[in-house]
């Protein structure tokens, strides 16, 4: 099939962009693997989970507490932010007067645009002392979960808003004509119709919760331990990299790349799980 010159130009531009984006991801992954290899060779994969502690200077490399710290913070914040985000999307679409809905969307957009260090700073001077009054010391898993919840809320709220907003308006009209209450219509018709978008939003916010570094580093206390309660300090994988990268050498430095690799694996698992769960069920 013959193509017009302008089409060919467009196609090649698009191809170049797509290949560039793909290649960058591949290179980052390869780089992570390459930098992790020395530690994986000399320490061995197993010891990253079985060593007695994380003391690189003493050749101890247990990542488990930080892995759990990351997972706890992720699960906690997703559990808080998801219902809030979906409910707020329902509110702006079906309950709020147009003016309030408009300004609310603006505020959410703003919330998404605030730099994470600002969240961290606010958490450090406001949230951490408050939690400290409740139960010392203050810097804790709870503080991390709360800060993360606020940070990922705009992601799920905006995605849920757009997916609920794209549900055909006729559903609501015909539900009203059948005398269905607004809540019944939302629960039984609107939310099921929007579920693929809601699911995508949840994946996106989870990814953001896993990757967030700065704010979490500022409020979590960064003690390497498996927390016994919400009020105990934790260190996440991301915070660990940021804290130790500046002075790490040799196997220690390489071990930090292993934790980066681990983060990437978690994200890949998340995406694969999403694919698997959604296959034929959610996106059908």
């Amino acid at each position: 099939m013959s193509q017009r010159p302008s089409d060919a130009l467009l196609i090649w531009t698009l191809r170049t962009c797509a290949v560039t984006a793909g290649v960058i991801v591949v290179f980052i992954a390869l780089f992570l693997v390459q930098e992790s290899l020395p530690a994986l060779r000399s320490v061995g994969l197993l010891r990253f989970f079985t060593d007695s502690s994380w003391h690189p200077a003493e050749n101890l490399y247990n990542l488990t507490p930080m892995l759990l710290g990351t997972l706890f913070a992720m699960v906690g914040s997703v559990l808080i932010a998801t219902p809030l985000g979906i409910l707020s999307a329902i509110f702006v679409n079906y309950y709020a007067p147009p003016k309030i809905a408009q300004s609310y969307r603006g505020v959410l957009g703003l919330l998404a645009g605030i730099p994470s260090v600002v969240y961290g700073f606010w958490g450090l001077v406001v949230l951490v002392p408050l939690i400290g009054e409740l139960e010392p010391p203050g810097p804790s898993l709870l503080a991390g979960i709360l800060i993360l919840s606020i940070m990922i809320l705009p992601t799920i709220a905006l995605v849920a808003d757009s997916s609920i907003g794209s549900v055909p308006k006729e559903y609501m009209t015909s539900a009203a004509s059948l005398g269905l209450s607004r809540w019944t219509a939302i629960r039984r018709i609107i939310l099921p119709s929007a579920k693929s978008g809601l699911f995508t939003g949840t994946i996106l916010e989870t990814g953001r919760a896993i990757g967030e570094t700065m704010a979490v580093l500022m409020v979590c206390g960064n003690v390497v331990q498996i927390p016994k309660s919400l009020f105990e300090p934790v260190r996440t994988l991301t915070a660990n990299i940021a804290l130790e990268m500046a002075y790490a050498l040799g196997d220690h430095r390489s071990a930090l790349f292993v934790s980066g690799l681990l983060l990437m694996l978690i994200i890949v698992c998340l995406i694969l799980a999403a694919e698997w769960i959604s296959r034929g069920r959610i996106y059908a």
Binding site: T173, S177, G179, S181, T184
Partner: protein, 278 residues
């Protein structure tokens, strides 16, 4: 007892009972009815009395407020942002704009079918069962028998009896529209508002739905908006003709179908019927 405040109708056993129902209660009349979208009038000053148990066709060119007129009769219009309705609509003895009107009862007694078939993204059965459950029918057997009964009433039972649990959206357009009519009938309305119910369907489905509407004559008070003049002539007992006047839709003429088509009083009607205008 006022029809709009009485939600619990007797359970009907057979179609015959529809004809025995007191049709005097389903008299609909409008007085000086106006509807505005913002500052723009959709129609103004509509005075119309609908004969109970009859089929009334609302005809006229696009944009003269026919659909808006239907939406004002069951107060769905107020769901549209910026829409205001004034004047009065009486259903039986009751003014539907009375602040004490129970909106749910109103919409149960005045069912509505839209131009585009709009079944919910649920199973065939659940499309009918969901509204039934919402309005207090809980027994599984009771729901099943009602589902079967209304599907038979719209002639869909034999086509879908084996796939009651399949998605309603997998049905053909005509089947979807009949399903929408079935789920409305399941709520035992007294009035049916149909907004161009056949215009989004292929000719074959269209004629099936049209036959169904004819069969419902006498059991319900039916008001149907249609662009299809031959269809109006075939199925309607009465015809209301709308036309743009002073930038707003207006009711120009109302009368028995024969009279409107054979000896219209208004020359606008005559011109429209003859296909000269609009």
């Amino acid at each position: 007892m006022n029809v709009l405040l009485n939600r619990s109708g007797a359970v009907y056993e057979g179609a015959q009972e529809y004809e025995e129902r007191d049709m005097s209660l389903t008299q609909i009349s409008t007085r000086d009815l106006n509807l505005y979208y913002g500052n723009k009038p959709a129609f103004k000053g509509v005075n119309l009395s609908i004969k109970p148990g009859s089929i009334t066709a609302v005809v006229g060119p696009s944009g003269c407020g026919k659909s808006s007129f239907l939406l004002s009769l069951n107060r769905l219009a107020e769901l549209i942002p910026g829409c205001t309705v004034s004047g009065s609509v009486r259903v039986g003895e009751h003014d539907i704009f009375d602040p004490e009107t129970d909106l749910i009862s109103l919409r149960l007694s005045i069912g509505m079918i839209f131009q585009k078939p709009n079944p919910f993204p649920l199973s065939v059965k659940e499309n009918i069962a969901l509204p039934l459950k919402e309005h207090g029918t809980v027994g599984k057997n009771e729901i099943d028998s009602k589902v079967e009964k209304v599907l038979k009433e719209v002639g869909l039972w034999d086509e879908v009896r084996d796939r009651l649990n399949s998605p309603a959206l997998s049905l053909s357009g005509g089947q979807q529209q009949r399903l929408c009519i079935a789920r409305t009938l399941a709520l035992e309305p007294k009035v049916l508002l149909l907004d161009e119910p056949c215009s989004a369907l292929d000719p074959l489905s269209s004629s099936v739905v049209e036959d169904l509407i004819t069969e419902l004559r006498g059991k319900y008070t039916i008001i149907i908006v249609t662009h299809n003049l031959p269809q109006a002539r075939r199925i309607a007992d009465y015809v209301a003709f709308f036309w743009m006047q002073d930038n707003a839709g207006a009711l120009i003429e109302y009368g028995a179908t024969k009279q409107i088509f054979n000896e219209p009083e208004n020359e606008l009607t005559e011109a429209y019927i003859k296909g000269a205008r609009g």
